[in-house]
Structure formats: C-alpha cells, structure tokens
C-alpha cells in the first residue's frame, strides 16, 4: 500500500543546489519572456544576439555594465546588511534620492576645489541617507514598528522632494532642462572609458563589508542578532543598538550610491534619477542571499538585465518590459529557492518481517 509522499523537505540546502535551481529559474523566466516576445512578433534569437553584442560583446557594452553596476553594488549592499540582522530596507530608493539631494546641496552651493568638494559631497550623501532612514530605524528599535512599510513610504516622499527641488528652488535656469538642477561644477573622475571611480570604490566597499561581517566581533553579533534575536539577548548582545547601527549603515550606503550616481553619471539632480536602483537593490540582495561578496555577481546579473533593457528599448520595447521580466525572474527564483529544499525519496520497499 503506498500513498506516496514522494518529496521531502530538507531543513537546509547546500549552496550549489540553490545555484542550480536558480539557474533553472532564470532560464525559465527567460524562456517565458522569449515566448511572449515571439508571440508579439519579435524574433527572440535576433534580440538575444543583439543584446549579447551590445553588452558583453563590446567595449562600450562592458563600460555600460560597469556603470550600471556601481549604484547596484551599493544599494544591494545596503539591503544585504539590513538582511543580516533580519530586517528589510525597502527604502533604498528614498535614501538614494536623499543622498543625491544632500550631495547636490554641497556641490551646488559650496565653492571649493574638487579634491575637497567630492569627499564633502560623499559625506553629505551618506549623512543624508542615514537621516532618511533615521525615523524608520528608531520606530523599529524602540516601538517595534514594521520597517518594510515605513522605509517604503519615505521613498515617495523623497521622490516628491526631489521633484520639488528640481522644479522649484534648484531648477536649472541656464539650459532650462526639465525637472533638473543646474550642472554640478565637479564630477567624479573617470577611470576607464565612461566608468568613474565610483565603480572600484563600490567594489572595495562591498569587499570591506564582507570582511567586517565575517571576521569581526561586530559582524558576528549582527549575524547572531539576525538569525535569532532571543539567542543574541541570551548572550548579552545589545540587539537594539546593533539594529540602529546596521540600519543607519544601510541608509548611508544607499545615500552614497545616490551621491555616486549624481556626481559620476548624471552630473545634476534630476527627478527620476534613482531609476529604480533602490528597488533593484532588493533584487540584488535576494540574489546574494545575505552574503556581501555575492552582491558582486548579483549586481552584475542585474546590470546585465538593465543594459539588455536599454538595448530592447531601441527595438520599440518599453523599459517597463524589463521591470516585468525582473519581476518574473524574482518570482521564479523565490519559488526555486523553496523547491531546492525538496528531495525525492526513493520509495522504501516493504521488507519481510524478521
């Protein structure tokens, strides 16, 4: 007699298994996308070839990838550090804007040489990002208010504030560009083609964060606090203090991403300049599964998708299609992560009783 429960759930899964399942999930998402594109009259192989040529297949493509990666590294790291202590920072988008605004305030109104101005702007960006997450942080630490909603709501406020500044007091009087401030007097110098120093610095920051998380007492305490707050309290780890610092760090990282994008790529404060980098940071963090180092390949994958999106736009596909594809991929990955826990069990034959 066999009513077969043919699959069983493992409590934990080796990383390699997850990786295989995820590759499958991404392939599935791309297949679905290809099918839809084919139905809409596009030729998926041609599009794929075009995408490959204009991303990894050319110098310009590579530069574009690196440029997209820079903010994603930092927003991805921002969400990841928060994840380490068991929290979700869905507000990287808002902190990104706050960082850009803070940096622009310095850049536009403080006359100083670039060597002084750029570090000042970076500091302002970090502080502004921290300030933007301060209220959700305190509400979480002292009143237990769910940080997902509070960080998220502030995204809309930040985007409105940017809109106000770029259409109001800071609007560009010179060229008359819409929803935009004047051009900044300084910019982050380029290091390779159009890629600015924000890219290597972003990589460095991610590497340092990974080291801090793995090899310091503080990193250990964060890990325990995120995995089980009760156990952390039991060991005398001040969980609340750690939550506050980690969330502020997260906001600061997203703010710095805003400053890099402002001073390295866009060169002015613009409405919509965050370009979903904050939200995509969540996707990057999810792909990295809480590991700071894995933020790098995850950001690369995300940058590739974004870049592909730009290419597709030249083929009369809207940018929103890319958002939908990202969503589909995220959905497939979420399911794959869960299914990776299941293992088929060979049916045990009924032995003869001894």
């Amino acid at each position: 007699m066999s009513r077969q429960a043919a699959f069983q759930r493992m409590p934990s899964v080796p990383a390699r298994r997850i990786l295989i399942w995820r590759a499958g999930a991404i392939a599935c998402a791309l297949l679905v996308t290809a099918a839809i594109l084919a139905l809409s009259g596009y030729s998926p192989p041609d599009l794929a070839l075009l995408v490959a040529r204009s991303t990894v297949g050319s110098r310009f493509g590579m530069e574009d990838l690196a440029l997209f990666m820079s903010p994603l590294l930092l927003t991805g790291a921002a969400v990841t550090v928060c994840n380490r202590i068991g929290l979700w920072n869905i507000g990287a988008e808002g902190q990104f804007y706050a960082g850009a605004i803070g940096a622009a305030a310095i850049g536009l109104f403080v006359p100083a040489p670039a060597l002084v101005l750029l570090p000042l702007m970076a500091a302002a960006g970090i502080v502004a990002g921290m300030g933007w997450i301060a209220i959700p942080t305190l509400a979480r630490a002292y009143a237990g208010v769910n940080e997902i909603i509070t960080t998220l709501l502030l995204n809309f406020v930040a985007s409105l504030l940017t809109y106000y500044l770029t259409t109001g007091p800071w609007r560009d009087h010179v060229t008359g560009a819409q929803v935009s401030s004047a051009r900044l007097p300084v910019s982050i110098p380029e290091i390779w083609g159009i890629v600015h120093w924000g890219f290597p610095i972003g990589l460095l920051i991610v590497a340092v964060l990974a080291a801090v998380m793995a090899h310091t007492r503080w990193g250990y305490e964060i890990r325990v606090g995120g995995a089980n707050p009760d156990a952390a309290r039991y060991a005398g780890i001040p969980v609340r203090a750690r939550i506050i610092v980690v969330m502020l760090l997260s906001g600061g990282l997203a703010g710095l991403a805003g400053m890099f994008e402002l001073a390295g790529t866009v060169h002015r404060l613009q409405g919509g300049m965050a370009n979903n980098f904050g939200y995509l940071g969540i996707v990057v963090a999810v792909l990295a599964r809480g590991s700071c180092l894995d933020v790098i390949p995850a950001a690369l994958l995300m940058a590739f998708i974004l870049d592909a999106g730009i290419v597709l736009q030249t083929q009369q596909l809207t940018a929103s299609v890319v958002l939908a594809i990202t969503g589909l991929m995220l959905f497939m990955i979420a399911i794959a992560d869960e299914l990776a826990h299941y293992r088929p069990v060979a049916r045990m034959k009924k032995e003869t009783a001894p």
Binding site: Q4, P11, A214, T216, V224, A231, Y234, M348, E351
Partner: protein, 528 residues
C-alpha cells in the same frame, strides 16, 4: 492495575476500534515508523510507551490524518480507512489531544471549542458559542470558562479545552500525547478519573507516555515502541515498571544515588556564591510572576527547583542569569550586588545557563555549529581579539565542545538545526559548563531526552558539583530532582514555597507543595 471493575465487557466478535497493520512512515534520513501493528479494543486504555524518537507521536499523527503513511493500513471497526486530512479522522470518531496544545491563544475558550466544527450553526455569535460551550461543558463534566482567552489559562485548563473539543465531536477513540507533563498531581488524578469514565462508556483511549508509574496506574494494556517499531504488547497487570523500562530502552537500567560524592569532590562552600534577596518580578500585565523570593546558592551543591511549569521558574532563571532585572530586591554574586541585568557580565563572572527552550533562546538554528558554539566566548581570546572574530579559533572551540559532549559532527559549517534535539542539548550543556566556573543554571536540561541521555545530562551536573560549582537544576520530574539535588525548592505561583533537604523528603511532600499546599514538615524554609 486495580481498574478492572469499570472496564466494560466486550461482546465476542466485536472488532477492535482501531487496528494498524504494517504502518511505515519515513522522514529525511529517519525511519519514524516501520512495520507497526497495533490493536485497540473498545473499553480499553492502551498505553504507548517508548523513548523520545521511538516514533510514538508520528504514529499517532498517522492515525489522525496529519501525516500520510508510506506503508501499511489503518482499519477502523473492521473497515480499512485512509485519512487524507484530520477532518476525516475526526468524522470517523478519532480525536487527539496533542502534547503541544493545538489551541489558538488569541481566541476565547468557546471559539476554540467551535474551531472547524461542521456541526456548529453557520451563523454564530460569541454569545451563542459561549452558551453552547457551557452546555457541552456540563454534559461531559469538564468545567471550563467559555469567555476566557486561552492565553490566560493554565496548562491544565487548556488541556480541558482540548479534551472537551475532542469529546464534543463524539470521539470514540481519544489519543493523548504526554497528557500529564504539564499537570499537577491533583490535576493528573482528575484527568485519570475522566479517562476512566470515558472508557466505561465503551470508548477507547491511547495514552502516550514515558512515565512508567502512570502507565502502570491508568492503562489496561501497554505497547512498547523502539526505533519506530513495535517491540511488544503486554497486559499491564503482568508488568512491572523495571521490566517496562528495560524493554523500552533495550538494556538494563541501573539507577544509582547521584547525591553521594565521590572521593576528591569539593566540599560545599561555607559562604553562598550567589543569592537572591526578596526578589519580586512583574510580568507584562503587571502581575507578580516572582514574589519575594530569597535564596542562597552554595558552591559544590545542587539546588533542585520543583514546580509545575509556569509558576515562576522562567523568571527565576532570568534574574539568576542577568536576562532580567528584578522589580524589587537584589541579586548577589560573590557578595556583590549585581546592579544591572547584563547576561554577558554574568557569563564573564562564571554563570552558565542551559535555558528551557534551547532552539528558541540558546541557539541560532540557521547559523553554523561553529558560530553557535562560539556564542559564549566570541568576545574573549582566542576567538575574540581586539574586536576581531577568529573563525579558525572558533572552529577549534566548537571541536573541543563536540568532543567533550561526545557528539559526532561531520561538518561544523552546517546549520545547527540539522542536529537532533538530543545532540543540540548536549552541545549547549557543554558550552555552558565551559564557562560555568561559579554557577550553572540548568532549566529542564533533561526535557525531551531519552533515558540514557538523561543519565548523561544528570552526570554533567554532578560532575560540576564535585568541582565546587553551584548548580541550580530546574525540572518537573520529581524522580530526577530527588536523584541529584541536595536541597529542593518548590515554586508555586511565583513564590518559593519551601526549600527542603532532599534526603529528608519524598515525592508526596513535594507534590503537595507543588499544588500550593504547605504540607511541608514544619518549615525547612531554607536555612538562612
């Protein structure tokens, strides 16, 4: 034993209420049940005996439709049945009272009684539910308060709600998983009375237990499971406790008096190592959860704490380990007042803590074994130096602990939740013993362990005692307490009822104190 009178006669040709044939159920890497045959007749209380992990609970979850068996068949009143869901089992007259009550804490008693009950009216208000509950409660003779929130009830009251829910569904087979673990002796007697009355109406009961005395007292027949298989079934009248224990474990159990010191053991210290002075604590609702507790712990001595769970033991543990500050009163360590609750400072001062619920508070289940073993020493060399965390040193530490605990670990990087409960408990105990130079607070360290592992755990405690450490051993198992403790304190409603010398007391006395009756021989109220 002497229950034959109210056991109704069974007409010849009546099939068993429940018959299991060749049941098999498998979990990842575990054979939970294999080739289990079992018959339960009308008018019988059938005990299911076995060590932890012997497959008792799994088997019953198969019978009640929560798990699907991989092999075998379930025959009810002579007809083969299979239950795809608990609902089908309930309709067939099988009701189960789980060890961890399946009640909704935020709901009232009446709401819990009506949960998933398809005979209740579709439109039903709180008032109607309470009236119906009152009626059911009177019909079956189980007094409950229909409008009380379940979260506010004692364990015994919650169990009554569970039983009432099962009876209201017209169950003919009642399955009870470890029903007495959370009850006072008095509540246990009431429960047994009710079970006998239920049996007298021609119904059957399966009672899962590993308390031999209770099995002897209440059951008509007893089946023993070991490693997922049924080893034997006996008429209880033909059994002795020691014979049951031997069959259950598969070897002879030697019980020794663990109170006696081996030569070379440290003597009891002259001055207390740790003490509480008039400590009172309030819970979230402002009710006193500890009331005016004063207590002294001496090095080289084991102080047992008896009591039904939820009478202040948790709070006592918290003040003794620096997890919470008393509302009033003082905590003394080596004569100095510990002004601030700081578990890390207590740990540095040599206070180890084996908490009640290891997975919830002593371990981070998703982190590696190495990380978990470093939890108490991550800030001190060799693991922690100048703010750094040396993962290699942590790994060495973890290997040390695992070796002393005699736990075989293939991979220290795997999450600690992959280990069995018994191994987790051993690792936590050894981790805490490492830092417990002065005091060890062990809350229910033997809970969930089988007989062999319990002996090991109690051995840890006496070893520590012999090294001159003050040990607090909180348990609800009076036998274990009497075996190792030098003194025994009894908690009731947050009060330390009495501290008695273990050598001069017996289970009866402690049982009475646990129920809040001051039956103690005049006042061995500590020895201050």
């Amino acid at each position: 034993m002497a229950d034959a009178p109210d056991r109704p006669p069974v007409a010849p040709g009546t099939p068993p209420i429940l018959q299991l044939r060749g049941i098999g159920k498998f979990f990842p890497g575990v054979i939970a049940n294999k080739d289990v045959d079992l018959e339960v007749w009308p008018g019988e209380i059938h005990a299911l005996l076995g060590e932890n992990g012997a497959g008792k609970s799994t088997l019953m979850n198969v019978v009640t439709g929560i798990y699907q068996p991989e092999e075998g068949e379930i025959i009810l009143d002579g007809y083969g049945r299979s239950f795809a869901s608990p609902q089908e089992a309930i309709r067939a007259g099988i009701g189960m009272v789980h060890q961890h009550f399946k009640l909704v804490q935020a709901f009232s008693v009446a709401e819990n009684i009506h949960l998933g009950w398809d005979e209740a009216p579709r439109r039903i208000s709180a008032r109607v539910m309470e009236e119906r509950t009152r009626a059911i409660s009177e019909r079956f003779g189980f007094p409950v308060r229909p409008d009380a929130r379940v979260a506010d009830l004692s364990a015994g009251e919650q169990q009554r709600v569970e039983i009432l829910r099962v009876l209201s569904r017209r169950a003919r087979l009642l399955i009870m998983d470890e029903p007495t673990a959370v009850l006072t002796p008095e509540e246990t007697r009431e429960l047994f009375r009710a079970l006998r009355a239920f049996r007298a109406q021609g119904n059957a009961v399966i009672i899962i237990s590993h308390k031999l005395d209770e099995v002897m007292e209440i059951s008509d027949r007893v089946s023993i499971l070991r490693h997922g298989r049924r080893i034997a079934t006996f008429d209880t009248g033909d059994c002795t406790p020691s014979m049951l224990a031997t069959t259950m474990v598969g070897r002879e159990i030697v019980r020794r008096n663990m109170r006696a010191r081996p030569p070379g053991a440290q003597p009891v210290s002259a001055t207390p190592v740790m003490g509480l002075r008039n400590v009172t604590m309030l819970d979230a609702r402002g009710v006193e959860s500890l009331r005016d507790v004063s207590l002294d712990l001496y090095g080289g001595e084991i102080l047992g704490i008896a009591g039904v769970a939820g009478n202040g033991q948790r709070e006592l543990t918290q003040v003794l380990t620096g997890l919470a500050a008393p509302a009033t009163g003082q905590v003394l360590l080596d004569g100095a007042v510990m002004a601030r609750p700081d578990p890390a400072a207590f740990a540095r001062a040599g206070v180890g803590h084996v908490p009640e619920d290891r997975l919830r508070s002593a371990l981070a289940p998703s982190l590696s074994i190495t990380d978990n073993m470093a939890l108490r020493e991550y800030a001190i060399p060799p693991v922690g130096r100048r703010g750094l965390y040396d993962s290699r040193a942590a790994d060495m530490l973890a290997r040390d602990i695992a070796r002393v605990a005699t736990v075989d670990i293939p991979d220290f990087a795997m999450p600690v939740r992959n280990l069995s409960g018994g191994n987790q408990q051993r690792l936590v105990a050894r981790r805490e013993i490492r830092i417990a130079h002065r005091v060890l607070i062990a809350a229910y360290p033997a809970r969930g362990l089988d007989i062999g592992a319990i002996a090991t755990m109690l051995g840890y405690l006496t070893e520590l005692r012999d090294q001159g450490v003050a040990v607090v051993f909180i348990s609800e198992d009076l036998e274990d307490l009497l075996n190792v403790s030098d003194r025994i304190g009894v908690m009731f409603h947050g009060r330390l009822m009495a501290v008695v010398d273990a050598a001069d007391t017996d289970m009866e006395t402690i049982g009475l104190l646990m129920g809040g009756r001051d039956g103690a021989p005049m006042s061995a109220r500590g020895e201050q």
